[in-house]
Symmetry: C2
Subunit: 170 residues, 2 copies
DNA sequence: TATTGTTATACTCTATAACTATA
DNA sequence: TATAGTTATAGAGTATAACAATA
């Protein structure tokens, strides 16, 4: 018997990390969602999609690539992208290389909202999260969470399985 | 001009920490939500409420105290607690000290679901999060996030303001 | 008058399954 | 046959505002 809580439970340190992770991320997300709603009438998912496109070369991505870590079902992605298209923030075109695919591209208006929303976004993060942390805190937070993220990405995500479940053998 | 990104933006370290925080917490939450659904037909919020009660003396809490860090509107809390009551996991009684208040109490059945759901819950956290981290990682994660949480709790939460907004001066 | 909690309602988001079209 | 994406639909969750009751 170790001090480390066997397979049955979590150690106190793990429990503490878990609860803090959930509470902090909830509060951050909730606060940021309000700000995005107020400043640009964007949901958080929509913001993430726009930001992902903003970082992509040419402001373009295929639907599939856009989903990573943001949305957990195909229909959900279609839904959100439809809203963005209706708002004029992205365009959808048939992919050049694969006629089945759809390329989503950020428009000028899309870059506009991003720019409009960004300062307030940053302000919320500063006030709520980063003002409480020194450089070292931020570094270790980033380091540990990045490590965790890489692990998670390497594990078969449920969304990848979901298709296969339908089209099972037989 | 510092290397530290002025008020206009976030430093690369901050950006990295922020994105990793959002992605990791989303993935964790999503995975855990599925597990809770499968194992006990509980939403994550319901699980949090039960767990909060499980930690409380006598398994009881006032509605207001139950909301902290879990739910962001009173009606949302009422809704979730109603579901829990209907399922037989909690009871609601008029508070002894304040006739306006409601005391929510965990039932035996409530403790039962918690127990039933817990091992799988822990397993998901291990596989997804903790297996990737060593003890030191977990300690710093816990330390930094706890620091952040304390800061956030000390800031006037929007939910506290919301009431006042309605009943503004004349 | 302020606070606790509930209710009614409207809305957003998500997920499953069925479907189309291309590879 | 497998993959990319869309659509229809149904359900869960959330928030706002109006409300009742107690302090």
């Amino acid at each position: 018997m170790t001090e480390n809580a066997g397979p049955a439970g979590l150690s106190p340190a793990e429990l503490g990390a878990y609860f803090a992770l959930i509470e902090v991320s909830s509060l951050v997300r909730h606060a940021v969602e309000q700000q995005l709603r107020d400043a640009g009438d964007l949901s958080y998912v929509q913001f993430q999609l726009l930001a992902t496109l903003g970082d992509a070369p040419g402001g373009s991505r295929r639907m599939t690539g856009l989903a990573d870590g943001v949305v957990y079902s195909r229909s959900g992605l279609t839904y959100q992208v439809s809203l963005l298209e209706r708002a004029g923030y992205v365009t959808r075109t048939t992919a050049a290389e694969d006629e089945r695919g759809v390329t989503v591209t950020l428009t000028e208006a899309g870059r506009g909202v991003l720019a409009a929303v960004f300062p307030g976004h940053v302000a919320v993060l500063r006030e709520l999260l980063f003002d409480a942390l020194d450089d070292e805190d931020i570094d270790s937070l980033s380091r540990v969470l990045t490590k965790a993220r890489e692990r998670m990405r390497s594990i078969p995500p449920r969304s990848a399985r979901s298709r296969r479940r339908n089209a099972g053998p037989a």
